[in-house]
Symmetry: C2
Subunit: 339 residues, 2 copies
DNA sequence: CGCGCAGACTTAACCGGGAAAGCTCATTCC
DNA sequence: GGAATGAGCTTTCCCGGTTAAGTCTGCGCG
């Protein structure tokens, strides 16, 4: 089957291709009668303007890029990214923008991908995830002048637009909740230490504990995988002053931690309270169901996509705050059993 | 920053843009000295040929499309798709093809997306997931002549290329394993009933049970979510001749089923054996760890991507068989306790 | 009646590459 | 020594849209 071009439409309508272009794009310059005829013919033969030809003159690719730099096993098991992508997609496809996805090995490779996309005019803008401290991607994108929205922050995003959530506040709320239950020894299993949002959470955790007068509020760094979460938990639970509550930076590690605790003969929440960050359906599938810090991730993605489209449209780069994660208490948290 | 074009390279090299084109594409027509000079200049100013311009003449978009038609919540929680995408991506980016992703509401919308992509020349080919019985996408793609690879089959793919795995054999192996352990009442919680691979598994299950002389080998249809998996399990376990073993069509439902069983006071594997299809790390995080049917999903995706690129390159549409899922026995299966 | 002008199109240039065809030399060959 | 070759470029056209600039009507109006 041959792909119809604008010339085919023009020929069948008995007009020039210029007229067809005006008609299809709702521009003045053709009579209503002709416009209707052209539209009917275009629909009839299933004409879609070639993206390539259009972006060659118009300079817009009608596509947005997302490069992810996480190993496949982490990406697969964490619902976060897929939910984020769903949300991004919903917003984009409503405006018939495409999403171009690419997995990369490291941040440097991501910069190279951004540069290539920009040079190829393959995308009109990009979304940036997993912000790091002194992230080299930020100045690189600023230099290119490629529209971008950072998912994260609020600091470290330079002059780029961003969508962020107040993780620090959510973490403080969680610590206060645990303290209110009577916990005094709280630990945390953190995410990848070089990610900025991990740093923000770690600082907030340390500060909140200090403010509330809690001793040894330790954060064990980890990498979001179940194995690492289990290892970190084992270490925490076999230490001298073992914690009575642990906060995990994602649900997978929390579930792994729960298993480890039960394996070691501790009851949850009797001997150990557990809080998971990222409230996916997984948290409700285990026993006891996990108290979790959750928020609407697809909405977060949609929010970011909307802002990126605005920036592409020429809007100034703003920092937009998304909803703060809220705590949903379930069966995995309770007052510590007196020892 | 202005994007360099081929004319910029030509000007700086003091040659025509035709010469630059020959030099960059490794074609004869320029001397080695000139070629080196041009390549050096192109690298220096960071030149990338515009995708739009190139595909306008060359007719290739250097992109592959994937439209997914599952609700966001299913997509997020099931590691399957993200792992598949990782594998696809690895293969594509190695050949600098882009992956264009789109979420759609239903198969009809997917056909519309394919048609649009084809008309816009946005992609050179597509991957098709979640094959259904009498899938209308197959004839639609054949009519368009858009290169495609179906992930699934082996039947129902028409003249399209496909990559498939022998789910029936894997299911038979599982049933035989459970029977060898001594189980006589085996049930199954299936996936979405209108998906072809669900049908294949359901048929294989029924046949295997009949052959082995098992009575009431019931399959309860479900939808891959934890809630539905839990509901189906509750129904099975509270029925008269309750099964001593249940096979689940994905890991999320299996984990939900495990929870339900424990909730109802049944011990796993003592009172109930559980087998999960899709062996993700989740299966090892719960207690007891789940016996699972697994295979290398990223490799499956890579396989499909490789075949799609071959079809795009003009290779005939073949049906390639991927590795069959293999059973990894863990703690959730054992001989049934005598009652 | 003829001028001006607006409306409805057409023409042609342009976007940034690829590639066929054309043009210049220097070299080879008879 | 002149024709035939061919390497090494340049010219030119093409892809399929968008859009500024032109052309051709018909009509209102002084």
């Amino acid at each position: 089957m041959k792909r119809p071009t604008i010339a085919d439409v023009a020929r069948r309508a008995g007009v020039s291709k210029g007229a067809v272009s005006y008609a299809l794009n709702g521009q003045p310059g053709v009579s209503d009668a002709t416009r209707q005829r052209i539209l009917a013919i275009a629909a009839e033969i299933g004409f879609n303007p070639s993206r390539a030809a259009r972006s060659l003159s118009g300079a817009t690719a009608d596509a947005v890029g997302l490069a992810l730099c996480r190993p496949a096993r982490t990406l697969g098991i964490e619902p976060f990214f897929m939910e984020l992508i769903s949300g991004v997609e919903a917003e984009l496809s409503a405006r018939s923008y495409a999403l171009t996805l690419q997995m990369v090995a490291d941040p440097e490779a991501e910069i190279a991908v951004h540069r290539r996309w920009w040079g190829e005019r393959r995308v009109d803008g990009v979304l940036v995830c997993d912000l790091r401290t002194d992230d080299r991607r930020v100045p690189a994108l600023e230099e290119l002048g490629l529209p971008a929205v950072v998912i994260g922050g609020p600091d470290g995003t330079g002059g780029l637009a961003s969508v962020w959530a107040d993780d620090a506040a959510a973490l403080v709320e969680t610590v206060e909740y645990l303290v209110a239950l009577g916990h005094r020894r709280i630990a945390r299993v953190g995410g990848l230490p070089d990610l900025l949002h991990t740093e923000i959470r770690t600082d907030a955790f340390a500060q909140a504990c200090r403010r509330l007068g809690l001793a040894d509020a330790v954060t064990v760094p980890s990498d979001y995988t179940g194995e690492e979460g289990a290892r970190a938990t084992r270490r925490l639970l076999s230490s001298a002053g073992r914690p009575t509550a642990v906060i995990y930076d994602n649900d997978v590690m929390a579930i792994a931690g729960l298993s480890v605790a039960q394996e070691m003969g501790l009851t949850v929440p009797g001997d150990l309270s557990i809080v998971a960050w990222d409230d996916s359906p997984l948290c409700q599938l285990v026993h006891p169901p996990l108290t979790a810090l959750g928020r609407d991730i697809p909405a977060y993605g949609a929010h970011a996509a909307r802002q990126l489209l605005a920036v592409i449209g020429g809007a100034p780069a703003g920092r937009v705050q998304d909803e703060t994660a809220h705590l949903t208490p379930r069966g995995s948290t309770a007052p510590p059993r007196a020892r």
